[in-house]
């Protein structure tokens, strides 16, 4: 056997995938032969097995499991000499790597790839909707467009891009040399391209891509053509990735903080990811369950959702939303963390009410599990549950409001540096408030009875996820770009990007509130004549939003290739990730820092957050203790 096929890598992965396909055929045909089915070859059955098995064959071929297989089989493991750390060239990013900084960049770049694919689908959606009647896709293809659009942007952009940014900066922020489980971290990343590729490939499935929305409600989903399973199974891989990363974050945050870094000295980004990880670990298994139900109904004749056989159609929605409502916070809390970091640094002031900011995150985590049925006000569930869900949904605006007001107070009397990250942060503050307000409106049952499943919902979710999450993602990417790449981005282009995005975003989504209340349902390929003029405006604005993202792409690529070198701390920040070079050394800290104060002591004379090399007050034998012992898992 040629050596390239024995070594982990893309050759072995490709060969392995062929093997996986052969395995799928063999298993399907073999099982059908044993059970006496005719004909022996059933394409759907082979495809179904392949969707599950080929990704594993791929991951094994790529080497994601090599260490564990050796260890489990008692073979001598390859000693970890840390040669896997760091990226030697751009090619290193295409192989499993155990360095959290490499993984962070893999995550972010991959997620943005999916953002551009999802955005492109949005452009097609808006092109179809530019005028009433059929433009260029039929309604099945149209249903596929918005389904894949939402699935990619939720499961393969917003959720993982936050995990990616945190993967890069969080260990640095808490003074750790890496994440707690570097190999699990590598596996978490490689599950993402698997999930994303699967969802995109669904367009080539017989019968078209999955077309039941990202919500995939039964009984539509368990009777849909085969393309549905690209979602059903794809979500499992994305979800597994989420859960593994969240566990990794939790263990890293709990056990690997630098000496002196008590919970209340952690930067709020760390708090935010701690809260998010709690949500992910508790909630994500529920979306996995909901999709397993669908898969079992489809493939093995289970009757979870067949009411004629004792199934319960509404159960799908309860299980699905028990994840998917907390998922809204999974897609927002890390952004809250980013905003807190940027506002403190760019306003040169401590975050106002630090402890309340941390506690409000935890309050959102707890309350986030008590509101799921507000997605089901018109679902036909038992009616009494609507009222407590209305109250909890309204009350969750209180901790969110605390955060908004505290951020405003953080800016007040500061010295505001109005550069690109700050502009996106301030854009977030105003736009997210709008999304929050329409959210409170949607808590009110009588109003929701009218506007649920309309463009008002579309407007609301885009104000939350675009004006909210995406603005914080842009802010975070610009803010940490110098740290991650060692280069400065182009400030002029950044500001241009902000203003274009801000204007076109509003022009796109604000009118959707109006047509929604007027009665335009969502998820329709065609609409009544009365909505035509607004839809044309929205489509034109959407194309503007699309163009604005090209400014961002150009800025990122050009600046990474040839931007001016970044200093280690261009923003004069106190947090630890800025106290090392840009980009940081392979093991982050030549010496583990000791944390002696809060992370945001701007304006306090002589205040420091962390010290290197010890200081008279904190130096001692315990200084390197817990962090380094827990912090050497890869040894």
């Amino acid at each position: 056997m040629p050596v390239t096929l024995r070594q982990p890598g893309w050759s072995r992965a490709s060969a392995s995938m062929v093997l996986g396909l052969a395995f799928s055929y063999a298993l399907s045909i073999g099982a059908r032969a044993i059970l006496g089915y005719d004909p022996l070859l059933d394409g759907e059955s082979v495809m179904r097995i392949a969707l599950i098995s080929v990704p594993f064959f791929f991951l094994v071929g790529l080497g994601c499991f090599s260490y564990w297989f050796r260890w489990a089989s008692g073979a001598p493991t390859v000693p970890e000499d840390h040669s896997g750390h760091g990226a030697k060239s751009w090619k290193s990013y295409f192989y499993p790597n155990t360095d959290h900084k490499v993984i962070g960049i893999q995550y972010v770049v991959t997620s943005f790839f999916f953002m551009f694919v999802g955005g492109l689908l949005a452009m097609l959606i808006r092109a179809e909707l530019a005028a009433p009647g059929r433009q260029f896709v039929d309604s099945n293809a149209y249903n596929g467009l918005f389904s894949v659009h939402a699935s990619l942007l939720i499961f393969l952009f917003i959720i993982p891009v936050f995990a990616g940014l945190a993967n890069y900066v969080l260990p640095l922020m808490i003074g750790a040399p890496d994440m707690a489980f570097p190999r699990l971290n590598a596996l978490s990343y490689w599950l993402l391209p698997v999930a994303g590729t699967m969802m995109m490939l669904s367009f080539f499935a017989p019968g078209g891509s999955f077309a039941t929305g990202w919500t995939a409600y039964a009984t539509l989903s368990n009777t849909a053509p085969l393309g549905q399973e690209f979602f059903t199974i794809g979500v499992q891989f994305a979800g597994a990735s989420s859960i593994a990363t969240a566990l990794n974050f939790l263990v890293t945050i709990i056990t690997m903080r630098a000496p002196g870094m008590s919970f209340f000295r952690m930067p709020l980004l760390v708090w935010a990811n701690f809260s998010t990880s709690l949500l992910v670990v508790i909630a994500t298994p529920f979306v996995a369950a909901s999709q397993f139900f669908v898969l079992l109904d489809r493939s093995l004749g289970f009757n979870f959702f067949d009411h004629g056989q004792g199934g319960d159609v509404l159960m799908y929605q309860h299980v699905f939303w028990f994840y998917s409502h907390p998922a809204v916070y999974i897609m927002m809390l890390p952004g809250f963390g980013i905003v807190s970091e940027i506002l403190a640094v760019k306003s040169r002031k401590p975050v106002f009410g630090y402890r309340m900011m941390a506690f409000s995150l935890l309050a959102i985590v707890a309350l986030g599990f008590t509101v799921w049925a507000h997605h089901m006000f018109v679902s036909g569930m038992q009616t009494w549950i609507r009222v407590p869900m209305m109250v909890t949904t309204a009350i969750i605006a209180v901790p969110t409001g605390i955060k908004i007001f505290s951020w405003l107070a953080t800016m007040w009397k500061g010295v505001l540096k109005l550069d690109t990250p700050m502009l996106f942060t301030m854009g977030f503050l105003t736009m997210f408030v709008l999304g929050g307000i329409s959210g409170v409106m949607l808590a009110m049952i009588p109003l929701t009875i009218h506007v649920s499943d309309t463009y008002f919902i579309v407007a609301h979710i885009h104000y939350v996820l675009f004006g909210g999450s995406l603005f914080t993602i842009f802010a975070g990417v610009y803010f940490w770009f110098p740290k991650m790449t060692g280069r400065m981005y182009d400030e002029k282009l950044g500001k241009l990007h902000f203003w274009l995005t801000f204007i076109f975003f509003n022009a796109t989504f604000a009118p959707m509130h109006v047509i929604g209340v007027q009665g335009m349902p969502r998820r329709v390929a065609d609409y009544a004549e009365q909505f035509a003029s607004w839809n044309l405006v929205i489509s034109l604005a959407a194309f503007g939003t699309g163009i604005s993202s090209l400014v961002f792409a150009y800025n990122m690529v050009a600046s990474w290739r040839g931007g001016p070198r970044a200093e280690s701390n261009p923003w004069r920040s106190l947090t630890l990730e800025w106290q090392v070079s840009s980009p940081p050394p392979i093991f982050n800290f030549d010496e583990i820092p000791t944390v002696v104060g809060g992370p945001y002591e701007y304006g306090v004379p002589g205040a420091v957050h962390g010290v290197f090399g010890g200081s008279p007050t904190t130096a001692g034998p315990g200084r390197r203790g817990p962090a380094t012992t827990a912090g050497a898992p890869s040894a």
């Binding site: 059929r134 249903n143 409600y217 106002f352 009410g353 505001l416 540096k417 109003l447």
Partner: protein, 283 residues
Amino acid sequence: MGEERRGSRNSRTVVVEMFVIGTVASLAGIALGSAIEWFPAQASSQAGPIDTLWDVLVICSVPIFVGVVIVVVYAALLFRQRPGEENLDGPPIHGNTTIEIVWTVLPALLLVVLCVYAYVVLLDIEQKPAQAATPEMKIDVYGEQFAWTFKYAGANGKPFTTTQLYLPQDRSVKFDVHSKDVIHDFWVPAFRMKIDAVPGITTAYRVTPTKLGIYPVVCAELCGLGHAYMRQTARVLPTDAFDTWLEKESAEDNPPAGGKPVAGGATGATGGGGSDAAEGDAG
């Protein structure tokens, strides 16, 4: 120090100025919010309370949004870093317990009040009307891919079905909603009420149509290929005209079939063929 210059504007003047501008902008925003033609026709007794709830929510929301925007804009104007301030820090203010309690308690109170109000509206729109001259009528609504059918109890105990919804004016109607295949959602925007049609269970709501006219019936829950085209019409008739129609339909001994060809009645009744039904009479 820049601090002195930064603090040079009397902070009370600034707050008053922000308050005045905020009030004016809020009033303008509320005026704009009232000027927009948000809702379709108010054709049921349920529409009024819901539309009023919306107005109240808009009035409460606008000042909050305006307030946040004004603080952001004023912060940018007053406190932006000017040349020579590159190394300046702000004052180390870590928090203020009083103000934090205020912005926790006040929104909570506002939200509780809104919830109570919304609950009252909910009771109002869902309760059976007090004993009226005519008893409540019941119509069974069946959703299937991709059409609605309506089953009437009929006059003289002779039930019949149609694909065009006829309703009497000023009489409470209870819809029992069923699905024959996947989830649909029975929605007449002019009535404001909607509910999912769920396979295996019967869901329900009631409306009292108040305004004569023809209104679109829309499926609001994604139900597959022809979802966008699952549109029919509801026609509200004067009571006597409705009774005439009801008796005529009951008298005809026809099997359940398509509706009468009245005023752009049901399109593309059953059998899929979604895109053929794209006339879009939902205007």
